[in-house]
């Protein structure tokens, strides 16, 4: 088991290293003159030269690459052109908000998606089944930013039952920071009012973000269950007199869920991408809003750092997913990759 985890981690490394190289190439080669870009429109040649020396842009490209790699490995992403603060610090501060939103979305998607898929498969070609088919295709076709605006329009502007934007009410304020997760920190501080308010703020963005995941999970649970139902051991269990519910819960679901777990890893990418637009719309103070802000202010250091951090988070999630798969179904480790 430990060996398998180690092997998976080692497999993720080359891609991440490649990503560092790619971001380096992007930041140094694509802009005609990075120093001029940094200096801005009102740059004098003297200022550009100064910046070039300051950032080490006057050294040979290979030396720059090594320096870049060392900086990235020590978590030094430079300073944001926009705020002047270290990018790493800003990202760390914003990461929990994005993770909280992503986890909430993943939670909704799983808690609703698995039962929906199961019921759809058990009532193959029934009403729920057709509903799930529509949902599983429609959920992936809907533009998250549009859905977010439509939900805001209905639930915040017209009905006025859920907050329009933000993470907690300004009047209440953020709870003292322990983990960075509002729902956790508010409970730690014993502030139940903030917890409830945090939940209310989370509803719309999390639902928006969960839809593609919900669609995918429901779909894969459905096809996984349908496939498992045709297996011999299910026939045997049925012949042995197991009831429908017991059969579905013990025999079928566990076998079907392996497929779903793989999807969660792939979904995480969709969730992070979706979070960019969704966060921007709900004014959610996470990495997504940070990335959008970086785009608007042409802050390429911040943008590349976000790209790298997302890549790392993505890799970690996929390793975790593979490990979870082995826990559920040990045969996976035997097959290798």
């Amino acid at each position: 088991m430990a060996r398998y985890i180690l092997k998976r981690l080692l497999l993720a490394l080359p891609a991440l290293l490649g990503l560092v190289v790619l971001t380096f190439v992007l930041s140094r080669v694509v802009p005609a003159d990075p120093a001029a870009t940094l200096a801005g429109d009102a740059a004098t040649p003297a200022l550009i030269a100064e910046i070039r020396a300051q950032y080490g842009l006057d050294r040979p490209i290979l030396e720059q690459a090594v320096i870049h790699l060392r900086q990235v490995l020590t978590g030094d992403f430079g300073r944001s052109v926009f705020s002047g603060r270290p990018v790493a610090e800003e990202i760390l501060q914003r990461l929990p908000a994005t993770l909280e939103l992503t986890f909430a979305a993943l939670f909704i998607a799983t808690v609703l998606g698995i039962p929906l898929g199961l019921v759809a498969a058990l009532h193959h070609n029934g009403v729920v089944d057709n509903l799930v088919r529509v949902l599983s295709v429609g959920g992936l076709a809907i533009a998250s930013f549009w859905l977010a605006i439509m939900l805001q329009l209905v639930f915040s502007m017209e009905l006025d039952i859920l907050p329009l934007r933000g993470r907690v009410d300004v009047a209440l304020g953020m709870p003292p920071r322990v983990t960075g997760f509002v729902l956790v920190d508010s409970l730690v501080a014993g502030r139940f009012d903030i917890f409830l308010d945090g939940c209310r703020h989370l509803v719309l963005p999390a639902i928006t973000l969960s839809l593609p995941g919900l669609a995918t999970i429901a779909r894969f649970t459905r096809s996984g269950v349908l496939e498992t139902l045709q297996k011999d051991f299910v026939l045997y269990a049925r012949a042995a007199g197991y009831g429908r519910v017991r059969l579905a819960a013990i025999y079928v679901l566990r076998n079907a869920v392996t497929l779903v777990v793989t999807q969660v890893g792939l979904l995480f990418g969709a969730l992070i991408s979706g979070a960019v637009a969704v966060e921007a719309i709900f004014d959610w103070p996470g990495l997504g809003t940070y990335a959008v802000q970086a785009i608007l202010s042409a802050d390429y250091k911040a943008l590349l750092a976000v790209t790298l951090v997302v890549g790392v988070v993505y890799a970690v999630v996929n390793v975790l997913v593979d490990v979870a798969q082995v826990v559920i179904d040990p045969r996976v480790a035997e097959e290798g990759r």
């Binding site: 891609a15 490649g18 992007l26």
Partner: protein, 280 residues
């Protein structure tokens, strides 16, 4: 042809195909179908933000332009962008997949590791970074989307080539002296075509969606383009008064992407007999 017949028998997929066909017709004849074709560029401030009526079925936007006309004109943009991106991604990804799949060795390893790097970050994030660094605008956004989508084609073709290279007919071809280029282009590629077609169809839907997000975030199409994502973004400042402003461009995105996804699903089922059974 069996595949086509199977596809038509699958009602849901045929419905998807119908949507795509409809969008194609709308895109080709957009300037003639749109009630106010000049509204792509012209503004009429006097009639801004009018609700849907007989005169303007989808209402008017913040500059008094007919939203129905702009949705129709936007279809052309959305399809052009998606086709260009998917074709470019195919042009990069298919040869890489073929080369990497044919022989094992350092070339194959290098190509697939490079592919992994591009897959290590969600597509949108990479496209945002790329698009912004090249230059904001629809051209750069398209380059960025193509540069982030090719790995999916490379993966697909790689898997197909690996599967086919040990096939008996490939051995036979090599035996009678066919060159690797000939085998790959004339025999392996046509056999991989169904998988590539499925990938391309799904890629069309995905690209339309991602391009809309880029337009929404201000990295893609720029005003006064009738881009759907851009329209939704412009509409935000006029809510809750002008509900029709974001609604119709968003529905257009939903419908077109839905069409491609349904069609892609149907094609996948038709192309892969193993999956056919589970659908019924």
């Amino acid at each position: 042809m069996t595949a086509l017949r199977l596809l038509l028998r699958d009602r849901v997929a045929a419905f998807g195909g119908l949507i795509v066909l409809f969008a194609l017709v709308v895109a080709i004849f957009a300037p003639w179908i749109a009630p106010y074709p000049d509204d792509a560029f012209e503004s009429h401030i006097m009639q801004r933000l009018r609700p849907p009526s007989a005169e303007f079925p989808f209402g008017t936007d913040n500059l008094g332009r007919d939203i129905l006309s702009r949705v129709i004109l936007g279809t052309r943009n959305a399809l052009l962008v998606a086709v260009a991106v998917v074709v470019a991604a195919m042009a990069i990804g298919v040869p890489i997949g073929l080369a990497a799949g044919w022989r094992e060795g350092w070339l194959s390893e290098t190509l697939m590791r490079v592919t992994d790097v591009f897959l290590a970050v969600p597509q949108l994030i990479l496209a945002l970074a790329l698009g912004q660094l090249i230059a904001p605008g629809i051209g750069a956004a398209m380059v960025a989307l193509a540069l982030t989508y090719w790995p999916f084609f490379a993966r697909t073709v790689f898997a197909e080539t690996r599967r086919l290279r040990s096939a008996l007919f490939v051995d036979a071809l090599a035996g009678i002296g066919a060159s690797p280029t000939r085998i790959l282009l004339l025999h392996v590629l046509p056999n991989a075509a169904p998988a590539v077609l499925v990938r391309a169809t799904i890629g069309m839907g995905f690209t339309i969606l991602t391009a809309a997000i880029l337009g929404f975030l201000g990295v893609g199409a720029a005003p006064p383009s009738p881009d759907w994502g851009l329209a939704v973004s412009e509409a935000r400042q006029h809510l809750p008064e002008a509900w029709w402003f974001p609604t119709f461009p968003g529905l257009a995105i939903l419908l077109l992407v839905l069409g491609f996804n349904l069609l892609g699903d149907g094609l996948r089922d038709a192309a892969d007999p193993r999956l056919r059974r589970s659908r019924r």
